[in-house]
């Protein structure tokens, strides 16, 4: 592939051909056939945001119940269901699907400078299967079968003896659905990053956020099987009488915890790493300089990935299990201190030596700094054994992990949304409304959760549906609940801003923030083929470091969807690959799989009979149709395998 001499820009007719090759189907069924990553990525974001709202409504209900002593809003049984579904929704249906799947599916191909994600159909399938999993949990709640054994559903409480009925089964299958989804997306994202990067984007020039997505994808690949295994064991104990957790015949309840935390520890980082990667992406843009300490940051990201599993080893062999359930988030936050501190210092150095522009996304970045720091401090407090004894399983712990989770996920999420919504919708969000949103949320958040520290210190236990007036917790609880009102108001302002933006926001143009990464090298919103001219890359910030005559890639076909495959390490072009087009079969397969999984809750034969439609739809999905363009081309070139 020699670099040839200057060529002309694409003709309008070329673009038309590209647009036709990459056209996304329309209409009702078209919605279910679309496999382009921008569409699926937005769906992941919107759906997980809806789950955030739903989980938030449950949180508000809990806070309303707790606002006064002996309040009669929720009974104990309903309260159990609600905190379980709140926690499960936030972790499994909001945090990972938003921060990993949503941002990842939308951004990764754009950041790589390619036209679609690798395995777009698998990716679309992963979306539908996630939606079904979420619906399962929530329909369960609505038909009074809401899971009620806490978000990690320990046996024996969740086992057949203590939770008869179907509550825990709904929870266990929700896990299977969401983890299948995360795994499918992890494969797509990792393959895209390793094989579809623009020529020139060597590993050493990969944006931090791609490093993070790759790390998280690999973590998902190793961690999610554990929770699928353990939730399947739970389900089998409950449906076909296996005895994994039954001590009477050699089973062991601790097996559940071992397996669950093999997933649970990495999970914290799976939630948290995408947040820090958003910070690492935004800080340089709004400091107008390259990130300070690229290598240390990348090392921290990768190291965090290893630590996720390392913490598990530490717990299992050094500390033993009893401590683990209590100080779970604490240990996680302690281990993360070194890589996180490294990143903090690099961010601060970047800001220090840059020219800070305090735009809306940056406001959320500072919010993150503040909130996360407090979460870290209370984590250090929890790590000291006497404090831990005092506040164990109290609201102090609830306060701490909300600082970590909301600081680590929600604040970066809003930073990212304000940053990339102009790319997604093509229009700017209103800065004034955005600031109102920020301050309402920030104040409300601290009101609710800072207060909980004191409640915890005064002995208020978590997971208890009410308390008596003699405890004198009423005033603080009222304050905490008032904060929820502020947060809710902030979210409403955000939604107003968002819908207003879609209708009448100022046009963003390709690169409203003058960012340096490749998603800003194309129109907002991107056309269905992402880039009219495929870029090549010359530095870590592709647009800032480009030569005046930075080459472009030519020679991919324009009559069919085709992507360029490059080398994993040095991203030299290797071959051209057809990108699978729209298809209804991923959707139908997800329906078939859902039927099998849900059926298996009620009868062990569900898996056996349910497998038949799964096989049929899978074959229809994968069966080759027509002659592949590859073959037509080969025939032109008369190569051996055209016989």
């Amino acid at each position: 592939m020699a670099l040839s001499e200057p060529i002309v820009i694409p003709q309008a007719s070329d673009l038309e051909r590209l647009a036709r090759a990459w056209a996304q189907p329309r209409g009702f069924w078209g919605w279910f056939m679309n496999v382009h990553h921008t569409a699926i990525g937005v769906r992941f974001m919107v759906t997980s945001f809806i789950f955030l709202l739903l989980g938030g409504i449950l949180a508000a209900l809990m806070r309303w119940q707790l606002a006064r002593p002996e309040h009669g809003v929720l009974g104990p049984d309903l309260y159990n269901q609600i905190f379980t579904i709140h926690g499960s929704t936030m972790i499994f249906l909001f945090a990972v699907p938003m921060m990993f799947q949503g941002f990842g599916v939308y951004l990764v191909p754009l950041l790589c400078g390619t036209r679609n994600i690798a395995f777009p159909r698998l990716n679309a399938f992963s979306y539908y299967i996630y939606v079904v999993g979420g619906l399962l949990l929530w329909v369960g709640l609505l038909v009074k079968t809401g899971a009620d054994a806490g978000w990690f559903s320990y046996v024996p409480l969740s086992g057949p003896e203590f939770t008869p009925g179907k509550r825990s089964d709904f929870w266990a299958q929700m896990i299977t659905f969401t983890e299948v989804s995360a795994l499918g997306v992890a494969i797509s994202i990792a393959a895209t990053i390793l094989r579809h990067r623009a020529p020139g984007m060597t590993l050493n020039r990969m944006p931090v956020i791609l490093w993070e997505k790759l790390t998280v994808a690999i973590m998902v690949i190793f961690a999610m099987p554990a929770v699928m295994v353990v939730s399947s064991m739970l389900l089998m104990d409950r449906t076909i009488n296996t005895q994994f957790f039954n001590p009477a015949v050699g089973g062991d309840v601790l097996l559940y915890q071992h397996l669950f935390w093999f997933f649970g520890h990495p999970e914290v980082y799976i939630i948290f790493l995408p947040g820090t990667a958003i910070i690492s992406t935004l800080v340089p843009v709004f400091s107008r300089r390259h990130i300070y300490g690229y290598i240390p940051i990348v090392c921290s990201v990768v190291a965090t990935g290893f630590l996720g599993f390392g913490v598990w080893v530490h717990h299992m062999f050094a500390t033993g299990l009893p401590q683990i359930s209590e100080s779970f988030f604490t240990a996680a936050s302690l281990m993360i201190v070194i890589p996180t501190a490294t990143q903090f210092f690099c961010w601060i150095a970047t800001i220090w030596h840059g020219r800070l522009q305090l735009r809306l996304p940056m406001l959320w970045v500072f919010g993150f700094f503040f909130v996360f720091l407090i979460g870290g401090l209370s984590g250090v407090m929890l790590a000291s054994v006497p404090v831990d004894w005092q506040v164990h399983d109290s609201f102090f712990v609830v306060a701490h992990f909300h600082y970590v989770l909301i600081g680590g996920a929600l604040f970066p999420m809003f930073a990212g949304l304000y940053h990339w919504i102009p790319k997604i919708t093509g229009r700017m969000m209103n800065e004034g409304l955005g600031k109102v949103h920020f301050w309402l949320f920030f104040i409300g958040f601290n009101m609710t959760f800072f207060t909980m520290h004191f409640l915890g210190l005064r002995g208020m236990p978590r997971r208890v549906y009410t308390y008596t007036p003699e405890m004198h917790w009423g005033a603080l609880n009222t304050l905490a609940t008032t904060g929820v009102g502020f947060m809710a108001a902030g979210i409403i302002v955000f939604l107003v801003n968002f819908f207003d933006n879609k209708a009448s926001g100022r046009l963003a143009g390709p690169n409203p923030w003058s960012g340096g990464s490749l998603e800003w090298a194309t129109a907002s919103p991107p056309p269905p083929y992402n880039f009219a001219e495929l870029p090549t890359v010359n530095g870590r910030e592709a647009l800032w470091d480009a030569e005046p005559n930075q080459p472009i890639v030519r020679g991919l076909r324009e009559d069919i969807p085709e992507v360029l495959v490059t080398h994993s390490l040095d991203s030299d072009p290797e071959y051209r690959e057809e990108s699978p087009g729209p298809s209804i079969w991923p959707f139908l397969t997800s329906i078939a799989v859902s039927i099998a999984f849900i059926w298996s809750i009620f009868s062990p034969w569900g898996i056996a009979y349910g497998a038949i439609p799964v096989v049929i739809t899978l074959i229809a999905w994968l069966w080759p149709r027509g002659h592949s363009p590859a073959r037509r081309e080969l025939e032109r070139r008369e190569e051996p395998w055209t016989r």
Partner: protein, 203 residues
């Protein structure tokens, strides 16, 4: 836009559209898939040994699984590597007759393996509902059966494609990757056998 006129290009039109082996994207995805499934096996096997440490009689009140069927099937699994490797070798040539031959051989072995697996299951000398031991044994075997059946179906489907003229280009790569997956099935069979038959006897 005028600036674009002057930009040099990296022309990729001469690149191939089919790649065998490691540079292929689907090959990579298959590796990820095997990593996922390998983790599942590892966790189930770890659970087996964990439960093993929790009890003094292992297997409890059962005979260990009858060795003969496991050994026979293990040998058959090993021999089945021959057609799998052959399929991988002929795939890049695009010779449809040879590909069909190889895949038929592979499918025949898969059928044989499944039949023998049936005998294995009948002679495990335990039931999954009797004890945690039984559950652990059956879960490992069950997961492996899932893979065996999946791989069988996949082979048959690719074989069907090989009877049409659609067996070209990237489909040939699928033939080669299917063999990779078969290697995984064989390897996991041997490891599972080692645990199910061996650990109950010797550990």
């Amino acid at each position: 836009m005028d600036a674009l006129r002057e930009r040099p290009v990296l022309d990729v039109s001469g690149l191939p559209t089919v790649a065998f082996g490691r540079s292929n994207t689907t090959w990579l995805a298959n590796v990820f898939y095997m990593m996922i499934e390998g983790t599942m096996f590892a966790l189930l096997i770890a659970s087996y040994f964990y439960l093993r440490t929790r009890t003094s009689n292992w297997p409890p009140a059962n005979l260990p699984p009858t060795l003969s069927w496991g050994v026979i099937n293990g040998i058959v699994f090993l021999v089945s590597l021959v057609p799998a490797r052959y399929a991988q070798k002929v795939a890049p040539t695009g010779d449809r007759a040879k590909i069909r031959f190889a895949l038929m051989g592979l499918a025949a072995f898969a059928v044989l393996n499944m039949v023998l697996r049936g005998f294995e299951l009948a002679n495990l000398n335990c039931r999954w509902y009797e004890s945690a031991y039984g559950s652990a044994v059956w879960s490992i075997m069950g997961l492996h059966c899932g893979h065996l059946i999946t791989e069988f179906v996949e082979t048959v489907v690719i074989l069907a494609v090989a009877f049409t003229d659609k067996m070209e280009g990237t489909r040939l790569v699928d033939v080669a990757i299917n063999s990779d997956y078969w290697y995984f099935v064989v390897a996991s069979a041997l490891v599972s056998d080692f645990v199910v038959y061996g650990a109950a006897r010797f550990l």
